[in-house]
């Protein structure tokens, strides 16, 4: 067990920081778990030659809460709020994945109205998550101002969530079989107003960053991940797409109402930090497109499918994955026919993406480590669970 964790992040041919003899000019720098830009409680041990990174090792687990184990002692509905606390920046997406997985297990379907509203809220959440990423990523690279512009827009989204379900961050917006709450009256109007403004706002961020010499210099060619490596390491989400792989579960295995809407999957070419930045910006634009299509026609009808008060799925197992803002978020649920799951295994995109860190930062400088951690868009709540 200890061995496994010590080698974590080593990748292929990785240098284990602790067991390798240091060269004369090398030092070990302990970054985190208390560090301004490791996005929470990630700890990275860096082996440095001057400022050049020659090896690294991630130490995780500082935020481990045993979410998967908790699931075994809760009923299916009781566990739903817990998943919101994994990727707390994108709680709605987490909830959607879990609800759909349980629905698949029980072989029920959410009614069309619920599916459309789910799609709209999830896409809003994707925008919110990407906004938060953009702000903190820019902050890591030293641009102080975009963060506040991003949070301003994120606030609008959170207000929509608040109006819908009363919560802003850990929303628990959906319910197994459909929706917890009926959409409020001005939902369409709010979403439309947000989408209208948001187009101009993205241009604002781009004006601050995209063509900025310093920004380009700090991100172009940094943390390159080739398509081959990305696939081999199981990296998903924008990080994978920036490497040139057109893989998006919303298109590949449509869920919710994504098969009804038109949107494109942006991909990058070089797989560097700059490409990942561009891909995420374009994804926000596409999410906006989906939201606009969604509010055009929200079908009428019930919001809850045929599910009882007590959920007792038949014995069996199911794996269901969705395209969360950070990548493929998968739920593997084993049912033994009782009201509580026998086992829940979660595939968190952040954890798998984080494994690419060592390979991406080797040979770069300390400043780039921060840029690469930012570009991976990890949330430690999800990495550690």
């Amino acid at each position: 067990m200890a061995d496994r964790y010590n080698n974590f992040g080593g990748g292929s041919g990785g240098v284990n920081v602790e067991t390798t003899v240091l060269g004369a000019d090398e030092i070990i720098l302990n970054m985190g778990p208390q560090h301004p830009s490791t996005h929470g409680v990630l700890r990275v041990k860096l082996r440095l030659d001057g400022e050049k990174v020659v090896g690294s090792e991630c130490v995780i687990g500082y935020l481990h809460r045993g979410v998967e184990k908790i699931a075994e002692h809760r009923s299916y509905q009781q566990f739903a709020p817990y998943v919101d606390r994994m990727d707390y920046v994108a709680a709605v997406s987490n909830g959607l994945g879990y609800c759909e997985a349980v629905e698949k297990l029980m072989q029920v379907e959410a009614p069309p109205r619920a599916r459309v509203i789910r799609t709209i809220l999830t896409e809003l959440q994707r925008i919110a998550s990407h906004l938060f990423w953009l702000g903190t990523h820019a902050l890591d690279i030293g641009a102080l101002t975009p963060l506040f512009y991003c949070l301003r827009e994120r606030e609008e989204i959170l207000k929509i969530f608040e109006k819908y379900c009363g919560a802003r961050l850990t929303t628990h917006a959906f319910r197994i079989g459909g929706l917890q709450y009926e959409a409020y009256d001005e939902l369409e109007k709010d979403v439309e107003r947000f989408c209208k403004d948001f187009d101009k706002r993205i241009d604002e961020y781009e004006a601050l960053l995209t063509e900025n010499r310093i920004w380009v210099g700090r991100t172009k060619g940094i943390g390159i991940l080739t398509a081959k490596d990305a696939i081999a390491m199981g990296v998903t989400g924008p990080v994978l797409r920036a490497s040139g792989v057109q893989w998006d579960i919303r298109k590949a295995m449509p869920y919710a109402a994504y098969d009804q809407y038109e949107f494109s999957i942006p991909t990058g070419k070089n797989g560097d930090t700059y490409d990942r930045y561009l891909v995420r910006l374009e994804e926000m634009r596409q999410s906006r497109r989906i939201c606009l299509q969604g509010i055009e026609n929200i079908p009428a009808g019930p919001i809850l499918g045929k599910v009882g008060k007590v959920l007792k799925p038949p014995p069996g197992e199911v794996y269901h994955s969705i395209e969360a803002p950070k990548g493929e978020l998968g739920y593997y649920i084993v049912s033994d026919g009782t009201t509580q799951p026998y086992r829940v295994r979660i595939r968190p995109p952040s954890l798998i993406n984080l494994e690419a860190l060592d390979q991406m930062i080797r040979g770069h400088l300390v400043a780039d480590v921060v840029a690469v951690i930012g570009t991976l868009d990890i949330v430690l709540g999800e990495v550690d669970r």
């Binding site: 830009s37 512009y149 601050l208 060619g221 560097d272």
Partner: protein, 447 residues
């Protein structure tokens, strides 16, 4: 002993006392202004709680820092850890001695004024390097090393930019430099804009401000050389940093922005600009009085009114020389009083540009910063000095008119700059290791 005999000795001491006493306060309020400017650019309000519009925030911060526990890490070198911030602060404050805040308010007009300022302010690096080393922490050490490299590199180009202005002025005395600008009627920023630009960039780097804040890049090195510092010692470093900002802004003002001169000082048509200072003060006072009743607490009302009254008093001081009969003592004090205003106004504007840049740009990476310094700024500053020298020689030896030679020099310098920019693009290596690794593979191995 009559007054005139001892005045030359008493006045500088008084000025020095005023500067040392006021500077911590000024630095504190620059921090407040910075936070307010930042807030304004970032669609928020900034400090609003302590005093009206957060006006007492610097005092609260200072009290907090003074009351904090004084921590010296166990493995630190105690003596150096204790002394390093003092070196930084002392160096920064000493540099102010030779700067003319108006024709009257100057501690010492040295004939080697600029050399003295450059020499003294360079000593501040010792404080940073020693502090970083004495902390005995990796983050501090890396911050200190970065800082040393950065300051040495950018001092070169800053020095070169200053040399350009010196050539134009023909003197090292700070007062003489401003006098030269007054005589010709042209501030040096218009005569040597490239030099000013170089100095602007280099001075940001020298004061460790974003986008060149490598030594204390908070997202990488936590707080750089200050990581292990806290409380009063940390405040000293902070004071040194902001004093340095004032110093470089003062140098830039003196050298390039015409020091204490009013804009268009020699043109009669623009004499109405003499009323700008007092109108500004009246406007601020008016704002304060208008906001006074809206303050929620009695103390805040009083404070707001006091600030308004202070502004009124300043307006009165600024008005007195204008309305006093010509030839009286008050009227002759006009250059001194108004000069101080314009000098401080320009310094404030320069510092505002610092802040503006800080909140707009991301941070350079260390190698990019060094490349910018050595491959762009240093060559450009050398070309700049050469062009100014050639232009002056053509003017003085061959009698070519200034309005041909100087613009020609500027254009040629800009062409050189464009060339440097174009060639510099090719040299960027994102992954530092790759080249070296390839070289290692090619090298024969002798086991």
């Amino acid at each position: 002993m009559n007054l005139n005999a001892i005045l030359p000795y008493v006045l500088p001491v008084l000025f020095a006392l005023v500067i040392v006493a006021l500077l911590p306060l000024v630095a504190g309020y620059i921090v407040l202004v910075e936070r307010k400017v930042m807030a304004d650019m970032q669609v928020r309000l900034g400090p609003m709680r302590v005093g009206p519009h957060g006006l007492l925030q610097p005092i609260a911060d200072a009290v907090k820092l003074l009351l904090k526990e004084d921590i010296i890490p166990e493995s630190a070198d105690r003596l150096l850890f204790w002394g390093a911030p003092l070196i930084s602060v002392t160096a920064a404050m000493l540099a102010l001695a030779a700067l003319p805040i108006g024709p009257f308010f100057q501690i010492a007009d040295l004939n080697i004024g600029l050399l003295y300022i450059l020499g003294i302010s360079s000593l501040g690096i010792f404080g940073i390097v020693l502090g970083g080393w004495a902390s005995n922490s990796h983050y501090s050490l890396m911050g200190a090393l970065r800082s040393a490299a950065q300051l040495v590199s950018y001092e070169t180009s800053a020095g070169m930019a200053i040399v350009g202005a010196l050539l134009l002025a023909g003197t090292l005395s700070t007062r003489g430099i401003v006098q030269e600008q007054a005589d010709t009627g042209w501030w040096f920023i218009f005569v040597a804009p490239v030099g000013f630009f170089i100095y602007l960039v280099a001075s940001i780097a020298e004061t460790n401000r974003a986008p060149f804040d490598m030594p204390e890049a908070e997202s990488e090195l936590v707080a750089g050389y200050m990581t292990e510092y806290s409380g009063f010692r940390w405040a000293l470093y902070f004071l040194a940093e902001y004093t340095n900002m004032v110093v470089v802004a003062s140098i830039a003002t003196t050298l390039f922005l015409g020091g204490w001169l009013r804009p268009f000082a020699n043109t009669r048509v623009f004499n109405f600009l003499d009323y700008f200072p007092l109108l500004l003060m009246l406007w601020v006072a008016g704002y304060c009085f208008r906001r006074t009743p809206k303050q929620p607490v009695q103390v805040q009302k009083m404070f707001m009114a006091t600030v308004g009254l202070l502004c009124l008093a300043m307006a009165a001081v600024l008005t007195a020389p204008l309305i006093a009969p010509a030839g009286s003592l008050l009227a002759s004090a006009k250059p001194g009083i108004h000069g101080a205003f314009w000098f401080l106004f320009k310094v404030a504007a320069y510092i505002y540009v610092f802040m503006w840049l800080r909140f707009t740009f991301p941070r350079y990476r260390f190698d990019q910063l060094m490349r910018l310094g050595w491959q762009f700024l240093v060559p450009l500053s050398i070309v700049n000095v050469m062009m100014i020298a050639v232009a002056l020689a053509l003017h003085r030896q061959l009698g070519w008119p200034n309005w041909i030679t100087l613009p020609l020099g500027i254009v040629l310098t800009l062409i050189a700059g464009a060339y440097l920019l174009a060639t510099g693009e090719k040299h960027e290596h994102p992954r530092v290791g790759e080249e070296e690794e390839q070289q290692e593979e090619e090298m024969p191995v002798n086991a």
